[in-house]
């Protein structure tokens, strides 16, 4: 199984993999710098933002004179129609963006891993039921789940996060299931089961340890995709309330003024793009690093 080759089994192994990728791949370096910048913004954003209260979505007192300023020295990204500094909104928004995607991916991954491994290990009706549940949620994009939840629960953080988790866990369930099936059928796992090692021990020590690495690398890439979906949900007003410090919301704030004040939407959108690209670059080059065949030099030889 090619995806299990070149795997890492510990945090040290992962670091080693990352170090090799750093040495070899420009795309990995660019990606991790983008991700690092994003994390730094998430941590420091509110402290370095020139107008933190603008950043949180409050309308400044002198709104009328500040409204709709194009990018200038004082407001590098300009201001929106309510006079809020777009740079501050972007900087403060990074934290919420990171929070949403980290929460969604970690919970979906945990849930999916659990479901996938159980399905592969116990087989029979458990397997059938779990696969069915996964298929049902695969058929439902996050956006329409968010629509239903928005109507049922109103606006809010919980709507974005829940709808994204519901639509993302089946992907992890599916890939964990495929990897776990390969591991469960390996001889040493069978022997461990025959020898009477408790299920929980076998699952944790053998199955999860082997399934996790490729799924984790996938999850890094997914952080970017989840950010795109979360932003779209917030942009459409299905998730966070209208003035929340979220990039999708800021893009929405500029929607009506896209022709007269394009900067309001363009800057936060560019940050969504850069962050999503960063995660994809990192995930993609790590996956390439894990598969020795993909690393080979190549020229068209015929």
């Amino acid at each position: 199984m090619s995806a299990l080759r070149g795997r890492f089994n510990s945090a040290a192994g992962f670091l080693d993999l990352a170090r090799r990728a750093w040495r070899r791949s420009t795309r990995f370096r660019v990606g991790s710098l983008l991700v690092a910048a994003m994390v730094a913004m998430a941590v420091l954003g509110p402290y370095v933002a020139p107008y933190p209260s603008d950043g949180w979505g409050l309308v400044p007192r002198n709104a009328a004179e500040r409204a709709g300023k194009p990018p200038c020295l004082e407001f590098p990204f300009g201001t929106d129609n309510l006079g809020r500094d777009v740079l501050s909104r972007v900087l403060v928004g990074a934290r919420l963006a990171l929070l949403q995607i980290a929460l969604v991916v970690s919970v979906s991954l945990a849930l999916g891993l659990f479901v996938g491994v159980c399905a592969a290990y116990y087989r029979g009706p458990v397997e059938a039921l779990l696969n069915y549940a996964a298929e049902v949620f695969l058929a439902l994009p996050a956006m329409v789940i968010a629509l239903a939840l928005r109507l049922a629960l109103g606006q809010g953080f919980h709507v974005v996060v829940t709808s994204l988790i519901l639509s993302w866990w089946p992907w992890y369930a599916r890939s964990s299931y495929v990897y776990a099936r390969a591991v469960v059928e390996m001889e040493y796992v069978l022997l461990a089961r025959l020898a009477g090692v408790p299920d929980r021990t076998v699952l944790l020590r053998h199955v999860v340890v082997n399934v996790l690495p490729p799924v984790l690398v996938q999850a890094i890439t997914d952080l970017g995709s989840v950010l795109l979906e979360a932003s779209a949900i917030n942009f459409l007003g299905l998730g966070l309330p209208p003035d929340a410090p979220d990039w999708g919301i800021v893009v929405q704030n500029g929607f009506k003024y896209i022709v007269s004040m394009p900067w309001v939407s363009m800057f936060p959108g560019a940050f969504i793009l850069a962050t999503a690209l960063g995660f994809s670059l990192v995930g993609d080059s790590l996956r390439e690093e894990m598969d020795p065949k993909m690393r080979r030099r190549w020229k068209l030889w015929f």
Binding site: R296, R297, W298, F302
Partner: protein, 316 residues
């Protein structure tokens, strides 16, 4: 004397994640036109790499050194390779596993079409017409094969189809890389007989790669023995079989049963060194029953023995 293939100090390596592994080291040999030439060796001896180099299908991460001529054309010089106008025109190839070597998405007829249109600009109809002749030559009923996909054919039929495709190119040098290793025993003999017959009928130069000393004996006029990337012995097959010079060749011969000859089979222990291992001395040193002191430190150069034989061993 016209040479079909001429290798001078040919080395071939592969770049594997940061390091360069040499699979073939400084190999020199000649194959005469119309000759049946065998390269014998264990897996990992570099024999398939030599076949790939001759057929022009070294993978993209391959690295070369030395010189190789095919049909008089220089195809390898240093790390430069140029097979333009050589592949399919001067040299053709019978692959190891026919199942993987036929395009699974194309009917056999289409595969003939793409070969023949590339080489001679034939139309689909002309190509199929020509394909019929070659399929018959390879012992297949054309109508049962032409509009089938490879997976619908049996292993033996696939190999015959691959041979017919190889022949259809019209090239006069045929490189067959263990064409029988993936087949059942009874099919093996059929395929070998077929190659022998085709060679005789069409007057081809046959370069046959195998690990089977017996097969080499049955098929070839001259044989080259390879071990750990080096050519250790070269000579007329009959003489080599009757009186091997290199200890490794003796080992190969003694470890196969010969019909009608009663003698104990000898099993030699040990494994060939892996291509990454740096060795100053003879690669066979570890396993050799006759090793000398010099063998550990210096690789033996090839030495002419008699008129037609060559061996790389310090014993000579």
């Amino acid at each position: 004397m016209v040479l079909a293939v001429e290798a001078k100090e040919l080395s071939v390596g592969y770049e594997e994640s940061d390091e360069l592994l040499w699979a073939v080291r400084e190999v020199s040999f000649e194959v005469r036109e119309g000759e049946a030439f065998c390269i014998v060796g264990e897996s990992g001896s570099g024999k398939s790499t030599v076949a790939s180099a001759i057929a022009g299908i070294l993978p993209p991460h391959g690295v070369t050194d030395g010189e190789l001529r095919v049909g008089g054309r220089v195809v390898v010089r240093g790390n430069e390779r140029d097979y333009e106008g050589v592949r399919g025109r001067l040299v053709t190839y019978v692959p190891q596993s026919p199942g993987a070597s036929l395009n699974p998405y194309l009917e056999i007829g289409d595969q003939f079409y793409y070969v023949l249109s590339s080489l001679y600009g034939l139309s689909r109809r002309e190509a199929v017409e020509k394909a019929r002749a070659y399929l018959r030559m390879a012992g297949l009923e054309p109508d049962a094969v032409l509009d089938r996909y490879p997976h619908e054919l049996s292993g033996g039929m696939q190999q015959r189809a691959a041979i017919a495709l190889a022949l259809s190119t019209g090239a006069r040098i045929l490189v067959a890389d263990e064409p029988t290793s993936s087949l059942d025993a009874h099919l093996r003999l059929q395929i070998v007989e077929l190659l022998k017959r085709l060679r005789a009928e069409a007057g081809l130069t046959l370069i046959f790669i195998t690990h089977d000393m017996l097969l080499a004996g049955a098929l070839s006029e001259r044989v080259a023995v390879m071990y750990a990337g080096r050519l250790v012995e070269l000579g007329p097959t009959r003489e080599v079989l009757r009186k091997p010079l290199h200890p490794y060749t003796s080992m190969l011969i003694e470890s196969v049963p010969v019909l009608g000859v009663k003698r104990p089979l000898k099993a030699y222990t040990g494994e060939p060194p892996s291509p990454g291992e740096p060795s100053g001395g003879c690669p066979f040193y570890e396993r050799c029953p006759f090793r000398l002191e010099v063998c550990a430190s210096e690789n033996p150069p090839a030495k002419e023995v008699g008129e037609s034989r060559r061996v790389a061993c310090w014993l000579f």
